[in-house]
Symmetry: C3
Subunit: 142 residues, 3 copies
């Protein structure tokens, strides 16, 4: 039952949601682990992770707009030297979180039909983001 | 150190919180694992998980009312074809999250005295919800 | 691949954020685990955990002020017998969460350069808080 890790590098193009489900599921499949636990971890404080609807893109736009309302720019923040989008980005990351734990069954993450794993970029400019994957479990046929 | 998984099916009766602590703790006990890690995962995007006060039911009502204020119906959402409660449900799920990781010590999840594990149904109508449990650890006496 | 657990006791001095990164990283190092999974779990419903900026203290003050705005005291809560700061504390704990999963690589949690692990005390008065750590993984050189 080895512990596997892998780092995904994701180039973002500014504020938005990026569906990582295929890349994550592909890596899990290649490890040969049948039953286990997958962890997805975002190494940043102004980008974060969420599991949400994978079908309707309007859901993603509504989620981003809601985050903008709940953690608005121009919110009279003390920390503003890195630009007006920086402190809202930290708040949005605190709200959605940076780590996800997902059981693996039959060689694949046990996501529901409508669930996708998304990186949410909260900064206005493009960034290079590192997502660390961890998987422990039993090998197929073991 | 095997990896155990189990799926709980929970029938909800519309918006509300359902305490899953007993069902989860019972399953953990039956595996015989003494020290390990429990993961609780909700396979949906309009229901979610939270750990909160297990004693005062007023806390649950206040939490649900607060979620309604923070992610209100009628919020001018682009995604509205599945009913006025659908997009708020996705937002509430993003806020509370769908996965929980809980250490297991002495054969039981290391929850605090006042902590309960709750499924939160965000849709107005009843739904059948799947909660996947994962547990890895050392067997008692091993 | 044993499962390690450890409980940190943290004395808080009222509302605020306490950086636990050094204590957690130190414990992980002492286990000798090289590659694995760390879980951090807060056993309370009015204190919680977040990963956020570790450099600028203004970020912490802005985060606390934002939590106060989003879950204000005097919010017409039904549950108010434990003081005006109690129900807001439960809401803030639901928002930020009480469990974190962090991959361990090369003997240390794979946190980003600017990431710190913080306990957030939401109550006005000092409290003694228990944080349970869990670590499973492969020993160095194994």
């Amino acid at each position: 039952m080895p512990h596997h890790t892998h780092t995904l590098t994701v180039e973002t193009t500014g504020r938005g949601m990026i569906d990582l489900t295929r890349r994550i599921t592909g890596w899990v499949g290649r490890t040969g682990i049948s039953t286990g636990l997958l962890t997805v971890f975002c190494r940043h404080t102004s980008a974060s992770l969420t599991i949400n609807e994978n079908a309707a893109e309007a859901v993603q736009r509504d989620l981003l707009a809601w985050l903008d309302r709940i953690a608005p720019e121009g919110g009279d923040y003390e920390h503003d030297e890195e630009g007006p989008d920086d402190m809202p980005a930290h708040l949005k990351a605190a709200l959605t979180g940076v780590s996800l734990a997902i059981p693996v069954i039959a060689g694949t993450p046990a996501l529901g039909t409508w669930q996708g794993v998304f990186l949410v970029e909260h900064r206005a400019r493009p960034h290079s983001r590192e997502i660390v994957l961890h998987l422990s479990g039993d090998l197929s046929g073991a």
